[in-house]
C-alpha cells in the first residue's frame, strides 16, 4: 500500500476509534467506560496534587530569615536557623554584632535569641509564645519568622550593656499568637517571667511567612528586652548571629569564623544544600505518587477497559469478517485506549485544580498559607502520565483482544 493510502487508513482508523469511543461514552454500557476514564483521572489528579504540594514545600523560602547570608551558631546548635531552643549560646552578642556591622563587607548583623515565653493577656489568661529577640534594622524586617518591620531600628534598652536604657516594650505578634492571646494592635501583654513590671505593647500583627512556623504563636521583640525578661541579660546571650553580607569574600568568612571559638558558620548556599537534603521527602513523595498512579491507573484501565475489550469481541469479529486486518483491529484497541487516557488526563487536570484549591483552602484556614503551587509544566505532565498509563495498559488489552477474537463465531 502506498504511503498516502497508509495515511488514509490511519486517519480512517482514528476516526472510527473516536466515533466508537464517543459511542461508548454516550450510549450502552457507558458507566463502565466512564469508570475507565475516572480510573485514569483520579490517580493522575492525586499525583498532580501531591507533586504541586511537594513543589510548594520544596520551593518555599530557603529560611525564614530572608536577606541573611550567614548564620553563626554554637556547634551543638548549628542545624537550625530559627526555631531551636538550645542550651549553648553565644555571649556578648550585642558587641560582637556591632563589631561585625562595622565592617565594610557586612551590611547588617544581629544576634537572635529564641525563648519560650509565658505571657499574660488582657483577660488574665496565660499563654505560651515563641519569643524571638533581634536588633531591628531598616530593610531587614524579614529576618524573623514573622515580619518585624513595625519595630523601629536600634535596641535602646541595651544601653551599652547596662540594660537600663529606654524600654520600648514593642512586640509584633503572629496572627496565631494574637488569636491565642485574643489581642489586637495596641493591647498590652505581660510576660510572667519578668522580675519587674515590664510589659509589652502589641505594635503589629503579622501573618507568618512559613506554614511550619505559623503553627506556633510567635512574638518578635527587641533583643535586649527579651534578654531582660528571660534572664539572658547577664551575659548578653543569644542563640545565633545573623549576618547580611551580600558582597562577602573569603576574608569575610574567615572573619566570621573567628568571631567565636567553636562557632559554626553556615552560608545561604550551605543552608540551601541542607534544605535540599531535608526536602528529599517531598521529592520521594512525588516519585512514589508517580509510581503509584502509574500502577493503579494501569491496573484500573487494564481491568475495566479489559472487560470492555472482551465484551466487544463480536464487533472485532465483524471487523475481521469484512477484511479489517488484525493489525488494524489492534490499532483500534490501542487508539481507543489512548483516547480514553487523553480524556482521563484532561479530567485529571480539572480534578487537580479542584484538589489544589481545596488543599490551599485547608492550608490557609489551618496554617494561614498555601501549600499547593501551580506550575504550568504540570499540565502537559499530567496528560503525559495519563497517556503513559494508556500505553502501559495497551499490551494487556491487546492480549485480551487476541484471546477474544472469534470471527468464525458470527452467525
Amino acid at each position: 500500500m502506498a504511503d498516502g493510502s497508509r495515511l488514509a487508513r490511519w486517519r480512517g482508523l482514528v476516526g472510527v476509534a473516536v466515533i466508537r469511543l464517543w459511542g461508548r461514552l454516550t450510549a450502552g454500557r457507558r458507566r463502565r467506560t466512564w469508570l475507565c476514564v475516572v480510573g485514569i483521572a483520579v490517580p493522575v489528579a492525586l499525583l498532580l496534587v501531591v507533586t504541586s504540594v511537594s513543589i510548594g514545600l520544596a520551593t518555599g523560602p530557603a529560611t525564614s530569615a530572608d536577606g541573611i547570608d550567614y548564620w553563626l551558631t554554637p556547634e551543638s546548635n548549628a542545624s537550625s536557623a530559627v526555631t531551636d531552643v538550645g542550651t549553648t549560646r553565644f555571649a556578648g552578642t550585642h558587641a560582637t554584632a556591632a563589631r561585625l556591622s562595622a565592617r565594610d563587607d557586612v551590611a547588617y548583623a544581629s544576634p537572635m535569641l529564641t525563648e519560650l515565653l509565658a505571657v499574660e493577656g488582657p483577660d488574665g489568661g496565660t499563654e505560651y509564645l515563641l519569643a524571638v529577640g533581634v536588633v531591628p534594622e531598616q530593610g531587614y524586617g524579614s529576618v524573623t519568622p514573622v515580619s518585624s518591620v513595625q519595630l523601629s531600628p536600634d535596641d535602646p534598652y541595651y544601653a551599652g550593656g547596662s540594660y537600663d536604657g529606654r524600654w520600648t516594650g514593642s512586640m509584633v505578634l503572629s496572627e496565631a499568637a494574637a488569636e491565642t492571646l485574643d489581642v489586637e494592635t495596641g493591647a498590652t501583654v505581660a510576660p510572667r517571667r519578668s522580675a519587674s513590671d515590664r510589659t509589652f505593647t502589641v505594635v503589629g500583627v503579622s501573618p507568618p511567612k512559613r506554614a511550619g512556623v505559623s503553627q506556633f504563636p510567635v512574638a518578635v521583640v527587641r533583643l535586649s528586652e527579651l534578654q531582660a525578661v528571660v534572664g539572658a541579660d547577664e551575659r548578653d546571650a543569644a542563640d545565633r548571629l545573623l549576618v547580611a553580607a551580600p558582597s562577602a569574600t573569603a576574608e569575610t568568612e574567615t572573619a566570621l569564623a573567628a568571631t567565636y571559638p567553636n562557632a559554626a558558620v553556615r552560608s545561604r548556599g550551605e543552608l540551601l544544600v541542607e534544605r535540599a537534603a531535608d526536602e528529599q521527602l517531598p521529592l520521594a513523595m512525588a516519585a512514589s505518587a508517580l509510581i503509584l498512579s502509574l500502577t493503579t491507573g494501569t491496573l484500573l484501565v487494564g481491568t475495566t477497559f479489559g472487560f470492555e475489550v472482551a465484551a466487544s469481541s463480536r464487533r472485532r469479529a465483524i471487523l475481521a469478517a469484512v477484511g479489517v486486518s488484525g493489525r488494524s483491529r489492534a490499532a483500534l484497541i490501542g487508539l481507543e485506549t489512548l483516547l480514553l487516557a487523553l480524556l482521563g488526563g484532561y479530567l485529571a487536570l480539572i480534578v487537580w485544580a479542584g484538589g489544589s484549591f481545596a488543599a490551599n483552602a485547608v492550608a490557609r484556614w489551618r496554617f494561614d498559607t498555601q501549600v499547593a503551587v501551580f506550575e504550568p509544566w504540570l499540565l502537559p505532565a499530567g496528560v503525559a502520565v495519563a497517556v503513559l498509563i494508556g500505553l502501559l495498559s495497551v499490551p494487556y488489552l491487546l492480549f485480551v483482544g487476541r484471546r477474544s477474537a472469534e470471527e468464525a463465531g458470527l452467525g
Binding site: 500500500m1 502506498a2 498516502g4 493510502s5 497508509r6 488514509a8 487508513r9 486517519r11 480512517g12 482508523l13 476516526g15 472510527v16 466515533i19 466508537r20 464517543w22 459511542g23 461508548r24 450510549a27 450502552g28 463480536r314 464487533r315 465483524i318 471487523l319 475481521a320 469478517a321 469484512v322 477484511g323 479489517v324 486486518s325 488484525g326 493489525r327 488494524s328 470471527e407 468464525a408 458470527l410 452467525g411
Partner: protein, 246 residues
C-alpha cells in the same frame, strides 16, 4: 453497480489456473477435534467430504435443514474458517494454507459477506458501516464517502446515510449490510439467511438486490427460504453434512 479498485496484489489470484471462483475438494469440518493427548470425545462433524465449485457469475442457492452445515460451509467459502480435512480454494488460493491475516486480506479484496443478523457496528452511521472495508484498503475519506453514498443510494437508502443501525428497520439494516458487502467490488458474495429476520415484503426487496448483485459476480446464498432457492440459478442441498445438487 459502480466499481472501486481495491489492492488485489496481496493474495495470488489463481483464476488463470482454475476457472472456478470457489473450489471445494473433499472438505470436512469437524468441531471439537482434539489436537493433543487429551481427547474429550465430543467431536461433531458439521461437513463431510463436500466437493463443489462455483464459477464466475453463478448464483448458487444453498438449502437444507437447520444444523445441516449451511453456515459452516458458507464460513469456509468466505475464508472465515478453514476445513479440518480437504481444501477450499478461493480464486486459486487454498485457504487452509493461509494465516488468519492473509485470509482477512483475501476477504477484503475478493469477498463480500451478508449475515442473517446484519452485524453492523452500532456506533457507526450507515455510511460509515458501508465504508469500513475501504479504510483498510487505504481509500481516502472523500472517495470512501462517495462510494458508500453511491451504494446506499443504489440499495434505496440515500436518505439514511447518517442513521445509525439502531435507527434503521431490519430490512434497512440488511440493505446496509449488502451495500457493505459490495463496497470492495468483490468477486464473491456469500449471504447467510439474508431474509431470515425480515418480513415477506422486505425479504422480496432483499432478494431483488441479491439478484442484481449476481449479474456481475458469483453469489452463494444459504437459506431456508424457498424464494431464495427459486431465485438462484443453481440449487445445492445440504443434508447431514453432505451436499447434493437439488
Amino acid at each position: 453497480m459502480s466499481n472501486v479498485e481495491p489492492d488485489r496484489g496481496r493474495v495470488a489470484d489463481g483464476r488463470a489456473e482454475s476457472e472456478a471462483v470457489i473450489q471445494c475438494d473433499s472438505v470436512s469440518r469437524v468441531y471439537g477435534r482434539s489436537s493433543g493427548w487429551l481427547d474429550d470425545g465430543n467431536e461433531v462433524e458439521a461437513l463431510s467430504e463436500v466437493s463443489l465449485s462455483v464459477t464466475p457469475g453463478e448464483f448458487v442457492g444453498l438449502t437444507g435443514a437447520s444444523g445441516s452445515g449451511k453456515t459452516t460451509l458458507l464460513h469456509l467459502l468466505a475464508a472465515l474458517d478453514t476445513p479440518t480435512d480437504g481444501h477450499v480454494r478461493l480464486l486459486g488460493s487454498a485457504t487452509d494454507d493461509l494465516s488468519s491475516g492473509e485470509r482477512a486480506a483475501l476477504r477484503l479484496d475478493h469477498v463480500g459477506i451478508v449475515f442473517q443478523r446484519f452485524h453492523l457496528l452500532p456506533s457507526l452511521s450507515a455510511r460509515a458501516n458501508v465504508a469500513l472495508p475501504l479504510i483498510e484498503l487505504g481509500v481516502g475519506k472523500r472517495r470512501r464517502r462517495e462510494r458508500a453514498e453511491s451504494l446506499l443510494e443504489e440499495v434505496g437508502l440515500g436518505d439514511r446515510l447518517t442513521h445509525r443501525p439502531g435507527q434503521l428497520s431490519g430490512g434497512e439494516k440488511q440493505r446496509v449490510a449488502i451495500a457493505r458487502a459490495l463496497v470492495n467490488d468483490p468477486t464473491l458474495v456469500v449471504a447467510d439467511e439474508p431474509t431470515g429476520e425480515l418480513d415477506t415484503a422486505t425479504g422480496d426487496t432483499i432478494l431483488e438486490l441479491l439478484g442484481a448483485v449476481a449479474d456481475d459476480r458469483s453469489v452463494v446464498v444459504a437459506s431456508h427460504d424457498p424464494r431464495v432457492v427459486e431465485a438462484a440459478g443453481r440449487r445445492l442441498v445440504l443434508r447431514d453434512g453432505e451436499v447434493t445438487d437439488g
